[in-house]
Amino acid sequence: MTIYIPTPLRSYVGGKNAVEIEAGTIAAALAQLTEANPELRQHLFTGEGKVRAFVNLYLNDEDVRYLPAKEDTSVRATDTLSIIPSIAGGTAR
């Protein structure tokens, strides 16, 4: 599957905007992603391993929080996972 990396987190995955990962579930894909890029871990997960409240995950265009199996949802190679953190910029002094 393709995992889209948002701008604020790209520096933790070598500047890439997308990463290809072969995994069976969303959780497994994220585990692989953070194993390969350990610095990313604290930005995505809390100390207890929960996805942080200001980071949203979307499988294709669907919010993972609203999928019946949530992060245990199985994924196919053609699926995309988007990581969408909150950004506040606007007036940008």
Binding site: I87, A88, G90, T91, A92
Partner: protein
Amino acid sequence: MATPVESIPLPELTTDDLSRYSRHLILPEVGMEGQRKLKAARVLCVGTGGLGSPLAFYLAAAGVGTLGLVDFDVVDASNLQRQIIHSTKDIGRKKLDSAEEKLKALNPALNVVKHETMLTSANALEILGDYDIVADGTDNFPTRYLVNDACVLLGKPNVYGSIFRFEGQASVFATADGPCYRCLYPEPPPPGLVPSCAEGGVLGILPGLVGIMQATEVIKLILGKGNSLAGRLLLVDALEMKFRELKLRRNPDCPVCGTNPTLTELIDYQQFCGIVPETKEEKRLKNGIPQMTVKELKQRIDAGEDVQLIDVREPYEYQIAQIGGKLIPQNDVPQRLHEIDREREVVVHCRSGARSQKIAEFLKQAGYPNVANVAGGILAWADEIDPSVQKY
């Protein structure tokens, strides 16, 4: 789709209006009635910066009758790269006055209401209450949550846009049955984890792109036409020039718009976002690193002391402005420790004091016994010591 514009009866169009808006009038989706709705509409733009500039410009051009502007900032040279409502001659002028002048020049019939204040829990309900639609073009999390909660409590749609570097987000929150910003993000990131545009930079055109998407959504809401972005988050990546769309849902457990809301009045948003006023002790010592004021640094240099001052910015920043520190860019510090004398006090500085704090902490861990950080960096130096030092 119902329009949030409440004015009944709708105002008549003048002969000037008929010629000015003729390209709207021949559009079946606008027509006479739509143009009269626009004339009746009252829209509040929170911020007249990167997003607010194109937003306010196009709303004024389209014939929105009343535009409220909230800002308390003055125009700075570094704004002009993207805040197109302001011109070079406006540097140092209040953004509100500069924006009003441009908007009235474009459309003299426009009613501009200036709110020269920071939006707070104490004034938000009163200010927002006067408008039909709110467009959020702010640059910080506390104001974003404040605008969201106030819109939900007042039942006003919140047309949202946000940008970072090359990426933007847009949506419409707090419509009658759509989600709100808190449904999407229940909590803000802890301070420091997500860089601001001032730290991370932003492509100047991007706020134009996102601000105009916001303006489009405002106009559609007023007309009651088309499909609004409510329930959808539009993502734009300007580098790839890719647009993507994600589904947003109203969260039944949302503290402000859910079925059993726990938040029924505005709160302290600085505190909610983890921003606590610094105590005297923290001002002096941060994570164990003494914070040197620019005044203190100046006094020591003036007294003839040979201060070991290390500048951890990038070479291109050094070219813009410098205050006599030895340049070792932050990422080079670990390999260039031999250039920093362990036996002497090390004073580290950067642009704002944030990067240098991290490097000061790193040096301390690396065994340097005496490390201080220049609080406020070059920016504070330019403000308090030498105004000829270029701010950027």
